[in-house]
Amino acid sequence: MIVFRLALQSLRARWLTALLSVLAIAFSVMLLLGVEKVRTGARQSFADTISGTDLIIGARSGGVQLLLYSVFRIGNATNNMTWQSYKDIAALPDVDWTVPMSLGDSHRGFRVLGTTDHFFKHYRFRGDQKLAFANGSAFSDIFDAVIGADVAAALDYKIGDKIVIGHGLGSVSFLDHGDKPFQVKGVLEKTGTPVDRTVHVSLGAIEAIHVDWQQGAPIPGQSVSAEDVRRMDLTPQSITAMLVGLKTRLAVFRVQRAVNDYAPEPLSAILPGAALQQLWGLVGVAETALAAVSAMVVVTALLGMVTMILTTLNERRREMAILRSVGASPATVLGLLATEAGVLTLAGAVLGTGLLYAGLAISRPWIDRVYGLNLPLAAPTSWELMTLCGIVAAGVLAGFGPAFLAYRRSLADGMTVRV
């Protein structure tokens, strides 16, 4: 106990440097645990991008690719699926609801999704959350558009604004559908999913803006006005993908097999959860790198602490000599410095964890709003507790370096301290 008391007293005497060491360790612990929290949060948010959908169906391709273009709006479809296929699948007895998706156009860098109002009804994210309108409502007219929260914020759009959809996917379109402008009808709440960065229009509208086009360009001398197009049959020939909800989840593999074996055209049906897992496996490398960096920060902080102990070591040689003279064994001297290191790291770990939770509690709503990242305020996981214990153990172990040096010196100093 004498060792513990002396360690505390000596730390109190050097409270400023001790405090700085504790702070350095606290911040590094905060960073490490924070990164871990964000990591699991991001992983969860990622997995929460789409839920409630049992199958995603598109032209035959890999699962990850289908997921990327249909849900994340990244890359392009290899092929379309015909409207007939959509109708056939929608008519399968196990199918509860379907949402058609038509992609390929954009508005100032944001993807345009042609769909039906079923999309707003059936799309779910983060568990079972539905899309909600911050302003306005779903489209009713053929040239109505519903925009995601990021689109509204980035382009400062309000209800009633006119927007022109560009052809193709570049942020600057050289060909646009300027003859048929859209009107913003609704703005969606922030979701933290790609929906935020999407302009939603009706499926018919996608047909309408392309009536007078062929092979990706306007047909010269043949333009159909916005008024005329309303009277035309705007049933699409093809769509890009479809979301499917089933009456019972048990039917998922039956329907998947039916789609994969669909004779008229080659199609793929994927389970969103499985594809998300697969995709996360690809981005997981960055996650590991992040964890490695924060682990290095912890190592740096511990090194800083060892440096602090080492720099005070010289002036403390006298102290060691005194302790030895009154009968302290080298083990006591060793224990004293190791205990100091342990106390510093423990204090740092506790403070860091406290700061992290305080910070989380304060910034949680803001992070959710701005980044769509839901960071639950849960008790530390066993992994986190293990890490904290590991850090403290590493601190004590690091303290043994200077402690051993002090011990060697106290042996060599004998009665006189040669400073």
Binding site: A13, R318, S325, V326, G327, S329, G414, M415
Partner: protein, 227 residues
């Protein structure tokens, strides 16, 4: 000390050899020698802080050169009070804590103090005897004391619990002459009262008259400084 031979680890050129050196119980011995002449090394050997490569060092009937490390530390805690030249105190402890420090390591000295009452009372009694009244003790931290006061606290620490041997390494060299005299008188008085043996080293020959015996380092030890 019999046929002792000692070399500091890492300094093979310096060798201290002691053919024979003996101190009787209750003596006040002054060990004289020039600075850097190996006096402190001799004290380190006596107190078992370092061990000789060769020979025996008999203290109170035990050969401390043969004792294993932990036992030597315990032996030192039980039987020795040590005063350094300077920087005797733990700067972060209070004065009383500094005085009571040896008691944390020695059961026997704890028991010796217990017969006289409370450890804190014994500490303040010793300090008062050494010229540090209680009013000053509570006021100051160890690091705020003057050098002379620090040495007195160190003396109180060396004496608490009545160790048999008090070893002092130039305890007065940082004091002026007047203070030196005063400090030594107090030290003698207290070691006498405790019945302790005092071994002190110094380079100052004028102190010799105050001791029962004066030994020149050159007479008992040979120092070799190899090329």
């Amino acid at each position: 000390m019999d046929n002792v031979r000692f070399t500091w680890p890492g300094q093979p050129r310096f060798t201290l050899s002691v053919e024979k050196f003996a101190v009787a119980k209750g003596e006040r011995v002054l060990l004289l020698g020039p600075s850097g002449g190996g006096k402190s090394t001799l004290l380190s050997l006596l107190a078992g802080i370092v061990t000789p490569q060769k020979g025996r060092i008999d203290v109170l009937g035990s050969d401390i050169a043969k004792l294993p490390g932990a036992a030597r530390d315990r032996f030192r805690a039980e039987h020795f009070g040590i005063i350094f030249q300077m920087f005797n105190l733990l700067p972060y402890g209070s004065i009383t804590e500094n005085v009571l420090l040896p008691l944390s390591f020695s059961e026997r000295r704890r028991a010796n103090v217990a017969t006289n009452g409370d450890p804190a009372n014994e500490a303040s009694r010793l300090l008062k005897r050494l010229g540090l009244p209680a009013s000053e003790i509570v006021q100051h931290r160890a690091s705020n004391l003057s050098v002379g006061q620090q040495q007195r606290v160190a003396a109180a620490r060396a004496l608490i619990g009545r160790p048999e041997i008090v070893v002092a390494d130039e305890p007065t060299s940082s004091l002026d002459r007047e203070r030196q005299q005063e400090f030594l008188e107090l030290l003698f008085e207290e070691t006498g009262a405790a019945g302790a043996t005092l071994i002190m080293v110094s380079h100052d020959e004028t102190l010799a008259k105050l001791f029962t015996r004066c030994v020149r380092l050159g007479d008992v030890a040979t120092i070799e400084r190899g090329a």
